[in-house]
């Protein structure tokens, strides 16, 4: 068994490029997510078509200028050809002030201010709309007399007061990288032996099936733990992710997740006959759900029912709860009992099926 582990280890070491990628990937992704996964948009390009040269309209434009959200410029064309601004991507929104703005502002209770928003990206569109309302509310408070709210709302965000994205993507990345290394790589190496015919050579040797498997996956467990530690250290040092819970608890539960992922990889290798197939199955069965059906980036609650049901069998969903719980909420083992038990159950099921199929494959 150790001999196989050593062979597999040498095999990995002999390929420094892949090894480098295994370690470089999380670092690059951390950096990208850390600095770029900012859902706030700043400097939205806003074109202004001002048909009303009054003091009131000036005030309104200045209010927009003073806001940190907008990068505002005057557009000399008319409303008929303003679509060009969107097609050329010069502006994300156009503010139109009608020629009777000042007049109407004096006379009527409510004066419309038209804002055309490029909502091709609906998230950006909604954000821009909200920024505009903030500016217009400020304008009203300064120049108009709109009744203010009769009560105050105080919002408190627990555990992550600044809503730092690092707090949720570092755990997510951990879940993603671990499953990628464990499930994707192991399924491919085992399929590789099958495809190359070397599996049969190992089989005629007096090694037992269980030993072959354990030997093959041992080096990957080692690498996973190293990569996991690397992500955590960077996340804590560079992005200020807290570690409020117990180190031992996280280590133990992470090992559990690694074993779950390995069982999944093993299971895939029993289905696939070539490496290309193994890769594709692994992508669909592990990476896709881990990124999109675990609650890593996008909330599960608004997805169609069928996807929500599938999300219950995605191991990362439970591991994410564990990592976020231990790191950020300082959860104890008792509070994480439910996700832990589910992971244990999953691992057992996967292992039993995978070993059955593996032995079955060997005998046939």
């Amino acid at each position: 068994m150790l001999a196989i582990a050593r062979k597999e280890f040498l095999h990995i070491i002999h390929d420094p490029r892949s090894l480098m990628i295994i370690f470089a990937m999380p670092i690059i992704q951390l950096a990208m997510f850390g600095y770029a996964l900012d859902m706030e948009i700043k400097n939205v390009d806003l074109a202004v078509i001002n048909y009303d040269n009054s003091i009131q309209s000036q005030h309104l434009v200045e209010q927009f200028e003073g806001s940190e959200f907008f990068n505002i410029f005057a557009y000399n064309g008319s409303t008929d050809d303003m679509e060009q601004l969107f097609l050329e991507r010069k502006a994300k929104a156009v503010l139109i002030i009608n020629h009777d703005f000042a007049q109407s502002f004096h006379r009527n209770i409510s004066t419309p201010v038209q804002i055309i928003i490029d909502a091709a990206d609906p998230n950006a569109g909604t954000l821009i709309k909200n920024y505009c309302s903030q500016v217009i509310i400020a304008f009203n408070q300064k120049y108009a007399s709109r009744p203010t709210l009769p009560l105050e709302v105080e919002s408190t965000i627990w555990f992550n007061p600044d809503l730092k994205s690092a707090f949720f993507f570092v755990p997510g990345l951990l879940a993603l990288l671990l499953i990628m290394i464990c499930a994707l790589l192991t399924s491919i190496t085992i399929t590789r032996e099958k495809e190359m015919g070397t599996m049969e050579q190992i089989l005629v040797s007096p090694v037992k099936a269980n030993e072959i498997i354990i030997g093959k996956v041992l080096p990957y467990i080692g690498i996973s733990i190293l990569v996991g530690a690397l992500i955590l250290v960077i996340g804590i040092i560079l992005f200020g992710v807290p570690f409020n819970g117990s180190y031992t608890l996280l280590f133990l539960l992470s090992t559990l997740y690694i074993i779950t992922a390995l069982s999944l990889g093993l299971m895939i290798s029993t289905i696939a006959s070539t490496q290309q197939v193994a890769m594709m199955i692994a992508l669909i069965a592990t990476l896709l759900p881990t990124m999109f059906l675990s609650g890593f980036i996008f909330p599960l609650s608004a997805m169609p029912k069928i996807l929500q049901i599938i999300s219950h069998i995605v191991p990362a969903k439970y591991y994410l709860m564990i990592v976020r719980g231990v790191l950020i909420k300082g959860n104890t083992f008792f509070q994480l009992m439910e996700p832990t038990l589910i992971l244990v159950l999953m691992t057992f099921l996967l292992l039993i099926i995978a070993l059955r199929r593996f032995k079955g494959n060997l005998e046939s």
């Binding site: 390929d15 490029r17 990208m32 997510f33 770029a36 996964l37 706030e40 948009i41 700043k42 939205v44 009527n108 209770i109 409510s110 004066t111 201010v113 038209q114 804002i115 909502a119 091709a120 990206d121 609906p122 998230n123 950006a124 569109g125 217009i136 304008f139 108009a144 007399s145 709210l149 009769p150 009560l151 709302v153 919002s155 408190t156 965000i157 627990w158 555990f159 809503l163 707090f167 949720f168 491919i188 190359m196 070539t274 490496q275 290309q276 197939v277 890769m279 594709m280 896709l288 999109f292 609650g295 980036i297 996008f298 909330p299 169609p304 996807l307 976020r324 909420k329 300082g330 509070q335």
Partner: protein, 373 residues
């Protein structure tokens, strides 16, 4: 010509020989599109909510009613102790809590501006932010109704204000799929044309059959063309299937010219096929090839604006995206689908994309040696 034809025929036979391969090429992309198309949304529903109503008055119950009559919140029950709230949120039982203080209605009626407290679990930052927005919306709706109540109505004649009226162009219903699906199409054609072509060439290396091909009188360009044309063909078949399904399932609107879309996709394929060849020259096994191309793809994806809008990136990253061929095709696809842009508006993306594509392709071809080192 004859030789190229034979290789193409061999490739097709090889690709379609295994049932699994057909599944990979045609079914896998559809699964990916369905999952991504439905999963990528920032909408939030069923936020688990507990309420601490310490006022217990007619007015406080009216506010709570606003939270019960929506599928955005799942009202779990009342809880009055602070420790209880903390335990519920820390123990994953609840995601949000509303605290209405004692004497709330009393203060409200005397215009003392009482304070409602919203507590939200920030561990999932996205959900937290969106849920807070919803809650504030419900409360301000209550305030409006309260102010407009006949007893309370302020004399509106003296009041003037500006009222925002926004028009959401290109996506009136704010449907995320309209924006994401064209982007996902780019990812799918990249996977087929780059990853699979790289792995396919390396497979011959790994199995030793590349050496056999080399001793034949087939020339290098014939070999490469024979290898690439099947993938080019498959990519376009897939593009057509995926677009049809996208229209059926997500009712994606296609505003622009289909012909333009396919033409520009073809120009983008120089990049991906070139990268595929390049990857095959620097790797020895399919595992490596997959890994290297996966790495390149993740990198290109993150810098393409698919998930993270380029406008949100810090300046340095924003400038780096200009080096990324995928950045251009992402804009092109989305603009053709959503805005119906014509070539004159897309020229500034097409030119750099084609330039990078040709450079990468030529580099890949030059690096591909038809001999064993």
């Amino acid at each position: 010509m004859q030789q190229i034809y034979y290789i193409i025929r061999k490739e097709f036979k090889q690709i379609f020989r295994t049932r699994e391969m057909i599944a990979i090429i045609f079914i896998a992309p559809l699964i990916q599109m369905l999952v991504l198309g439905f999963a990528i949304t920032n909408e939030v529903k069923h936020v688990k909510l507990i309420i601490s109503d310490r006022d217990d008055s007619f007015i406080s119950r009216e506010i709570i009613m606003g939270f019960q009559n929506t599928d955005r919140f799942d009202f779990l029950g009342y809880l009055n102790s602070n420790q209880g709230l903390k335990d519920a949120i820390q123990g994953w039982k609840a995601q949000m809590a509303i605290v209405i203080p004692t004497g709330f209605s009393h203060d409200l009626q005397r215009n003392l501006r009482p304070e409602i407290q919203l507590i939200v679990d920030g561990v999932d930052g996205n959900t937290a932010g969106v849920a807070l927005g919803y809650a504030q919306g419900i409360i301000s709706q209550f305030s409006q109704n309260y102010l407009n109540h006949p007893r309370k109505r302020i004399n509106f004649k003296k009041v003037h204000w500006a009222q925002q009226e926004e028009r959401m162009w290109y996506n009136v219903n704010l449907d995320t799929a309209q924006h994401m699906v064209p982007g996902i199409v780019v990812v799918l054609i990249t996977i087929i044309s780059m990853m699979l072509s790289a792995m396919n060439i390396v497979r011959e290396k790994e199995l030793g059959t590349l050496e056999q091909l080399m001793v034949t009188p087939i020339r290098k360009h014939q070999l490469l063309l024979g290898k690439l044309i099947p993938f080019l063909f498959l990519t376009f078949v897939e593009l057509a299937i995926v677009m049809k399904v996208a229209q059926l399932i997500f009712s994606i609107r296609m505003e622009g010219s289909l012909f333009l879309l396919f033409g520009l996709a073809f120009l983008f394929l120089f990049t991906t096929l070139g990268l595929g060849i390049f990857v095959s020259t620097i790797t020895q096994s399919q595992q490596q090839a997959m890994f290297v191309s996966w790495f390149i793809m993740v990198f290109m994806l993150l810098m393409s604006g698919l998930f993270i809008p380029i406008e949100n990136m810090p300046l340095l990253l924003k400038k780096l995206t200009y080096l990324n061929p995928m950045r251009y095709i992402m804009y092109i696809m989305r603009d053709i689908f959503q805005k119906g842009s014509s070539i004159q508006y897309l020229a500034k993306d097409v030119l750099p994309m084609t330039f990078y594509g040709l450079v990468i392709f030529i580099f890949g071809v030059l690096k591909f040696q038809k001999r064993v080192n």
